[in-house]
């Protein structure tokens, strides 16, 4: 008999590992256990199933060649003994057995293993507030809940919905409810921005603006304090500021590692609940491996523990665990939290650390903000992507990269290239020479990722001085808040004129870019001039020309109008 390998958990890391083991060690005796009857599904696809982009839940658990990945499939096609509706109750590490219960019959038995793998996944966090158990309150934790959500919507039971939590799943669900179904949807987020810790404020603010333009209301800095319940049914959500009617409440405030089994077996578990594993995905018991949403991995930028419950990482971790169990040495070095998301017509993504997180971790962090064409500006269909490159002033290493762009792959192109570079320890200078494949229909001769590095280099070398976006927006909302500030608009005078009319010629100066070198004499020396243009590059060049002329009283608005108009839809262009 071959090596006995038991895998607990049948969604992502588990099935991946089970199948891989049977490929590289065909004689292995592999058992896959899951408490659910539905296994091996793309949980990340749930919002698209709810929205209707995916019509049938079976598509989420089918192969690309349209075979449903059920127990029968794993038994026959993969040679994996698959036990669904079977719960693992306890691990006996000395005897090397797992006690399981058949949920249909209640029968208990013990399964012996040479190697055990825990792929127990995550469980949704539920806020400890009144009413969360009411009918109509859902987490997005499994296919059964998704099916019920869609059933209610399709039957016209949901006119209004509240999504508690402005993370990725919350935003994706809000789009799903609004876009096709026309449900009046509100997102309530406790932090003062969407996607907290994942992206910085400018990108999050652009996302919030975009959602509002697509009829999703977004309340930030508001904690949900109670689910309002009538006759056992959720009818609303109360926050510190208001009560919002709702026929359905989506609780999307994050997930936690499902690690109780590991903890009870005496395995090391991190403070955040993630099972501790080494680079070979081995737990503190060498015979037991773990992978997927239940483990903590290493953050390749910060060196700290990272809890990243992503299907993409789960599969890679599962494959590494499988190889090691099958006798092929393999390592999973860690992750950097690459992330991308669709929100209506917008893509938003990030990799590595945000500026806020980098500062919180003690890096001497700063960031460039740029707005660049995704392909040759003369090529039809060219659009703007806004990028933030986070770097460490001391080491010049790139710590993170994030951005927003149109809903196509143009943002992914840059996020993924950045992810590879950051993983390899790239500096700003390395980013400046990244060789992106170039042709006008795909990119620009100086790619947006290179431009982001150029700006970062100019900042790091103190050639560029910039203002932060929030301060600028606060100032144009109330110019009297900083009486010593003026704007210097270096765009074409026709573009500057509406703002000159609005703010007055003393507050909004107009001197086009190509006249700065010859015409700077008219500019004030006793005010701080905020230089504005469309993308920030003309502002930077103007700043240098003014520096050379002895006028150092300037700051650049990074990203220019291309960025701020995405944050504030009502801004005067």
């Amino acid at each position: 008999m071959g090596k006995r390998i038991v895998i607990i958990g049948g969604v992502a890391a588990g099935p991946k590992a089970a199948s891989r083991i049977k490929r590289v060690l065909p004689e292995a005796d592999v058992t896959l256990i899951d408490q659910d009857n539905l296994i091996s599904y793309g949980g990340c696809g749930i919002p698209y199933y709810v929205s209707g982009d995916v019509s049938d839940e079976q598509e989420l658990r089918s192969t690309s060649f349209h075979m449903v990945r059920d127990a029968n499939f794993f038994n026959q096609a993969k040679g994996v003994r698959t036990m669904t509706s079977t719960r693992a109750l306890a691990i006996d590490r000395r005897a090397k057995t797992v006690e399981v219960e058949d949920l249909a019959t209640g029968a208990r038995s013990a399964i012996a293993y040479d190697n055990l793998m825990l792929a127990t996944g995550s469980e949704p966090f539920v806020l400890p507030i009144p009413g969360v158990d009411a009918d109509g309150v859902f987490t997005i934790s499994d296919l059964h809940k998704a099916i019920e959500i869609k059933r209610r919507i399709a039957q016209g039971m949901v006119g209004k919905a509240v999504v508690i939590g402005g993370g990725a799943i919350g935003v994706e669900m809000a789009e799903a409810l609004t876009d096709l179904w026309g449900i009046e949807t509100v997102i309530v987020e406790f932090m003062d921005q969407l996607l907290p810790k994942i992206v910085d404020w400018p990108m999050a603010a652009a996302l919030a603006n975009h959602l509002r333009q697509h009829n999703v209301e977004v309340y930030l800095g508001e904690a949900a304090t109670e689910i309002v319940v009538e006759d056992g049914k959720a009818v609303g959500v109360r926050t510190g500021k208001r009560t919002i009617d709702a026929d359905m409440v989506i609780m999307a405030v994050g997930v936690r590692p499902r690690s109780q089994l590991a903890r009870e077996a005496g395995l090391n578990v991190a403070a955040n609940g993630g099972i501790v594993v080494n680079e070979r995905m081995q737990t503190s018991d060498p015979a037991i491996y773990a992978a997927g949403d239940c483990v903590e991995i290493r953050h390749l930028v910060s060196g700290r523990g990272l809890y990243a419950p992503l299907g993409s990482l789960a599969n890679k971790e599962g494959r590494v665990a499988a190889d090691n169990m099958a006798g092929i040495p393999a390592v999973f070095k860690g992750g950097i939290g690459s992330f991308v998301m669709k929100a209506f017509d917008m893509a938003i993504g990030a990799t590595g650390l945000s500026l806020e997180m980098a500062k919180a971790q003690g890096f001497q962090a700063d960031s460039s903000l740029t707005a660049s064409a995704d392909r040759a500006h003369f090529f039809p269909g060219s659009e703007i992507i806004c990028l933030e490159l986070v770097f460490d002033r001391r080491t010049r290493k790139v710590l993170g990269f994030q951005g927003i762009g149109p809903m196509n792959d143009s943002l992914s192109v840059r996020i993924d290239a950045a992810a590879v570079a950051i993983t390899a320890g790239a500096t700003i200078e390395d980013f400046a020479t990244i060789e992106m494949a170039y042709a006008p229909p795909f990119s620009t001769a100086i790619d947006a990722i290179n431009s982001a590095a150029y700006a970062a280099e100019n900042l790091c070398d103190d050639r560029m001085r910039q203002i932060d976006i929030q301060s600028f927006l606060a100032w144009i909302a109330d110019p009297s808040s900083h009486p010593d500030w003026v704007a210097l608009d270096v765009r074409h005078p026709k573009q500057a004129q509406p703002n000159v009319d609005k703010f007055g010629a003393a507050l909004w100066l107009s001197l086009p870019y190509d006249k700065v070198r010859s015409g700077y004499q008219v500019l004030p020396t006793d005010k701080i001039m905020i230089i504005v243009c469309n993308a920030g590059s003309r502002s930077y060049e103007s700043q240098l020309a003014l520096d050379a002329a002895g006028l150092r009283n300037t700051v650049v608005l990074p990203g220019g109008y291309n960025l701020i108009k995405r944050i504030d839809a009502d801004i005067l262009l």
Copy 2:
């Protein structure tokens, strides 16, 4: 007076360097010289100007904020003294002067420099065959020629065209002539594939197939031997096999470095004509720098010299040269030849070495071929991209990466990530864990780039045995050529049936993937079975299952039908 810097060449590297110097060293006295009156244009955009995607040639030499980059622009906005229609005749390295001629007046003068930069670009190669000087024969070398080409087309003077050369520019021009203008266009390529040395045969064959489907005739392995001329006008092209009528002939057989000035000045020039520079873009004279299409750089994979006349590299090299001349130490380590191109509805791209080039350079090279979904297969709009990952069996390093995909950015996503990884010296295993940002609208949990690495790993570890595509296609065209070969189709029997009907049940065996483990007993042991499916992955799994059952007489068709149907439009699916 500031440092005197003279730059010869005003298309890409030159203007970039001139502008950068004035930013980082404002007191520098920078002079930009070009023999043409049109400067700083996107030469890569010429095919799109000819096609009509770009309506006016001015767009190719305008900024994203719609200012034309002429001499006046560089003088005023950039502070660069710009002399157009001025030819550099000779360099006096001892006196540190450049002798120039004003092409309008014929007046000659000497310009003194502290640093000189050569950005003299490239010149198109013209085949040494009769008739190349005839009216109607064009190279794609400058905007003036492009304007004349478009004028003739717009005036209805061109019904038929021959493009000599199946490289990137030749293919782009063929599309430009065919797509909008409906010109009957033929590409004549001397080598037996399009894009020789850039991509390997399978990708090139898919491109040729795609071009033919879009009414571009492609003749491979045919040398143009003569331009047929009547009354001084080109009327056709003669090859070893035929004579093709043509109202216009595009000569696109490559470019050569324009390095005569450097050579005459006694600077080191490589055998291929590229000016030799170090990592700081310095020539053999420390006072003279060079960048762009006129230099040879280092190939970061092979370590050999690389001649890569690309606008994207020119700009990066120019910036590095500028920094060094301005006193900021900077290095340009080299390139890996990242490439991407649009051809009608197809994208084709590559980075690093092709399999053929890698073998030619002595690597123990092999490659995986995979066909993967570009985004979650259940997400609407998911399409297939076919990838080739070239690796070295000895070091397990990835040497190159290429592919074809739909005409969007999904191929670029993978090519660019691969380019960064290869530059960083990544192994197959590094590719297997590249963390691509994942959400169903953008990618798959196991990204196509990871799948390519998985296949490569399986090959490198001798877990997978494959057949090359060309051998398979030759065999199905004539099964009697290998009487000991049979196909084992592991797709659904309904999909296999048309081929069973065509080839006969003895030659085309049908055993679906999920029945292989239980039903292998019916399979022959005295034939070589070529396992076929849609993407290659079920074939590989079947091969392993058969290996475990003792049937090792199999090879996998890598990429499966998804790849071969792109190569041969008439293939029976």
